[in-house]
């Protein structure tokens, strides 16, 4: 793909009960959003290991969205509370090593928030597009791709 029509690659890691179902609702409501996102479904945000986020960047993601149930709505009572602490630390760590915060975003999207899902995904896609390709990671990926 040439520079001019470059499109960001977005990975969304979401929980099954709220955000995945919210994204389903956006579909059944025939709302439209940008096609850049690929969703990875896990049972709960509590299941999301930060290493998944790194792996996504290693596989060429320009931005990652992590999304789950609103606090208090977790299907598993507290998975999102545990996740929230991890995110706080991990996000700061990535920021500290120089990864722009736009590249890793977080949201609460409930099963009834199809509209919010659309807004969040469009927002993330636009923000990452504005940042351009994740050249920092691409540079270190390149070396590896050569080996593969």
């Amino acid at each position: 793909m040439s520079e001019s029509n470059w499109e960001p690659k977005i990975v969304a890691i979401v929980c099954n009960w709220c955000t995945y179902t919210g994204a389903d609702l956006a579909g059944t409501s025939r709302m439209k959003y940008q096609p850049n996102v690929r969703i990875i479904k896990l049972p709960c945000t509590g299941r999301i290991d930060p290493v998944f986020i790194l792996k996504a960047f290693e596989r060429g993601a320009d931005g990652v969205l992590v999304s789950g149930c609103h606090p208090g709505d977790c299907h598993y009572n507290a998975g999102n509370f545990h996740a929230r602490r991890r995110w706080m630390l991990f996000r700061d760590l990535l920021d500290f090593v120089g990864i722009e915060p736009e590249r890793l975003q977080f949201s609460w999207v409930s099963a009834s928030e199809g509209r919010k899902w659309v807004d969040v995904i469009n927002g993330v896609t636009d923000a990452v597009r504005a940042r351009g390709p994740f050249t920092g990671y691409q540079a270190i990926n390149k070396e590896f791709v050569a080996h593969e």
Partner: protein, 665 residues
């Protein structure tokens, strides 16, 4: 690996935006894919047959169906797989409809995305393992917590279906709030007349074990296999010996304790039965007021008891019960606006003077005043001087629907019971005037609206739409200052008595009990059902069901209906000897587990147990975590938290997720 990929057009739903044929073609090239087929309706019988035949004929080891959301047809396709001998967990769904064709318009972009989604699913399914459903035995015995009308109904339903029930009630008698009510809307039938036969039925039922004056202390185990510890509070009366003759109650010299049942409007002795129809009809000693417990003297009750049933030395006892299903029916309490609540967001209603002015009372107190068994034998008397009040003001929504000072929710029953109160008052005090301050009248229910109209039109209750700003005493009366928002002017009523319809709120210990049971609760302490519409009596902890006002404010018919629903859920469980659970549970790698137990800290279900690994001589080698698959709900929080990655969530293993992510690049 032999993987089959099946792409559904869903009529035009997918086919319009995704070039399904192109997807099938592209996917056929993916490593491991031996069959790649597109078809109009995969979920139809012929569609399913394509998959079934391919499994048999091509010896597939994994299936990817690219169709609608897995929430829609995952079960369908898994069944199709297992019908033809493939483990159902070797089937993955790529969501081409809700997550692709319906939300995008550009065909090439949507097609590219569809191929990506299938590729991710293919890579994942290659790493799926065969999982077998987890089977656990079922103890066909129910615990019902709370002996109000909801608990009574649930207990009777389960017991009448032929199963044993343990009914735990924290008060000395079952009956709950309903036993305190005078008449019930909209039929005005006597509350106790319809309730007491049910209470007796519970007591006499051969399959119901009633533990009154008891509380649930601890719950261990999981659906079908709970172990429940119950604290039997010291009654100071040996139930088996007591005949309920009541002599001790009569002779007790301490008669000054405010009666809980009468809402403080009457006194009771230190040894008492809450009310004459109590079940069990066995007294209890209130150790806080009893002279013997305070000074060591008296002991008259012990002297007069012919059966030697008084036991001052009695201690709390603990009993353990094996239980298969738990029905929680712990009810509600009324918001006591006299006290400043702990929650600083709630500002109270000090300006109404509840607790300060004796004739400003709440709804339950009015029930007692209006009840034939109440302190004034059903004659309407105001508490301060026992005079018949000639003008009574009823105020609705005290604490309910009030974001500024109370709770945001509607307490639901107050419109109806206020109409009932005003009506009962008018029936008993013919020359009296009844005023009702309201915000809206919410009378949805069979014969409810008609009931309110009757209060207004036939009984002449004066409804004023508006709020009350202040109540203050003046010359033996209470000046109720408010606003009539329909007339658009301030209004003052010199009332003899004021009745506040205070909000229905969660029980004071609701959150504590929720933690014991593992039941989630909302911001107000009401218990949280799994789904507000489709699973209204279940909670996220399997095997626990909700009945009545512990879930949200409810009137009697709703509480009873919910109780029967909860009972039927328990009976569904008792319908089989074993139950099957999704096998997506966590599993520990004992070889690498280091025993830090971070997994235990994050587990919301107490599913992580401590396991000791010993050598042949019995020496402790190390302590590791172990998952109880009956308790594990499969959230995977332990998996993400484990520092050495020694615990994995089956069905969502790291290897599977990595494969999905890797397939992106």
């Amino acid at each position: 690996m032999k993987i089959g990929v099946y792409i559904c057009y869903c009529g035009e739903n997918i086919g319009r935006t995704v070039d399904c044929a192109a997807v099938a073609k592209a996917c056929a090239e993916l490593p491991g894919v031996v069959d790649s087929v597109d078809y109009k309706y995969m979920c139809s019988d012929p569609g399913q047959n394509i998959i079934k035949n391919a499994i048999r004929e091509k010896g597939l080891q994994g299936v990817v169906v690219a169709s609608c959301s897995p929430h829609m047809h995952e079960k369908t396709f898994r069944r199709a797989c297992s019908d033809s001998g493939l483990n159902p967990f070797l089937c993955e769904i790529a969501n081409l409809r809700e997550h692709c064709s319906w939300v995008h318009e550009d065909v090439p972009a949507a097609t590219r995305k569809a191929i990506d989604l299938v590729r991710m699913a293919v890579e994942k399914v290659k790493r799926n393992g065969e999982l077998e459903p987890i089977r656990v035995p079922v103890t066909k015995r129910a615990l019902v917590v709370g002996g109000g009308i909801a608990g009574i109904q649930a207990a009777l339903d389960v017991a009448n279906a032929g199963f044993e029930v343990v009914l735990v009630e924290k008060e000395p008698s079952i009956g709950g709030h309903m036993s305190q009510l005078s008449e019930t809307f909209p039929t005005l039938d006597c509350s106790q007349c319809i309730l007491t036969p049910r209470m007796v039925e519970v007591y006499q039922h051969p399959r119901i074990k009633l533990l009154s004056y008891s509380e649930v202390e601890k719950v261990e185990g999981f659906i079908g296999n709970f172990k429940v510890t119950i604290r039997r509070k010291a009654r100071s009366v040996i139930e088996e010996r007591c005949t309920g003759c009541g002599l001790c109650v009569q002779k007790c010299p301490t008669k000054k304790a405010p009666s809980e049942f009468e809402q403080g409007l009457a006194k009771r002795p230190a040894i008492y039965v809450p009310f004459p129809q109590a079940v069990p009809n066995k007294p209890v000693i209130d150790r806080n007021v009893c002279t013997h417990f305070r000074t060591g003297k008296c002991g008259i009750c012990k002297k007069v008891c012919g059966r030697d049933a008084i036991d001052f030395e009695q201690q709390d006892q603990f009993v353990t019960e094996d239980i298969g299903a738990i029905i929680v029916a712990t009810g509600y309490q009324l918001y006591s606006i006299s006290k400043k609540p702990d929650d600083s967001a709630i500002k109270g209603y000090g300006e109404y003077g509840y607790g300060k002015y004796p004739d400003v009372i709440d709804g339950l107190q009015f029930e007692r005043i209006a009840s034939a068994s109440g302190p004034s034998s059903g004659e309407i008397r105001r508490p301060s001087d026992q005079k018949e009040p000639k003008k009574v003001v009823f105020i609705q929504c005290v604490g309910s629907r009030d974001e500024a000072k109370g709770f945001t929710y509607c307490s639901k029953i107050c419109c109806m019971y206020t109409a009932k109160h005003a009506m009962l008052y008018k029936h008993k005090v013919h020359d009296g005037e009844a005023y009702v301050f309201y915000m809206d009248i919410r009378a949805g229910g069979k014969m409810y609206e008609e009931f309110v109209r009757r209060a207004i039109e036939e009984d002449g209750v004066k409804y004023i739409r508006g709020r009350v700003s202040r109540i203050y005493p003046s010359g033996g009366k209470y000046i109720v200052k408010g606003e009539d928002t329909l007339a658009g002017e301030p209004i003052e009523i010199d009332a003899d008595m004021v009745v506040l319809a205070t909000a229905m709120i969660a029980q004071p210990n609701a959150q504590k009990l929720a933690q014991v049971l593992g039941v989630p609760y909302d911001g107000y302490g009401f218990y949280q059902e799994v789904h507000p519409k489709l699973r209204p009596v279940e909670v996220s902890t399997a095997g626990i069901f909700l009945a009545g006002a512990c879930q949200s404010p409810k009137d009697i018919p709703e509480a009873v209906a919910m109780a029967s629903a909860a009972a039927s859920k328990a009976l569904v469980l008792f319908g089989s000897d074993q139950l099957e659970r999704e096998p997506t549970v966590a599993k520990v790698n004992e070889a690498t587990c280091i025993g830090c137990f971070y997994c235990q800290k994050v587990c919301a279900y107490n599913a992580i147990e401590v396991k000791e690994i010993r050598d042949r001589k019995g020496n402790l080698v190390k302590t590791v975590a172990s998952v109880n698959p009956g308790l594990c709900q499969g959230c995977g929080t332990c998996n993400a938290t484990c520092p050495s990655k020694s615990i994995e969530l089956l069905g969502y293993t790291d290897e599977q997720i990595f494969a999905e992510i890797t397939a992106l690049g």
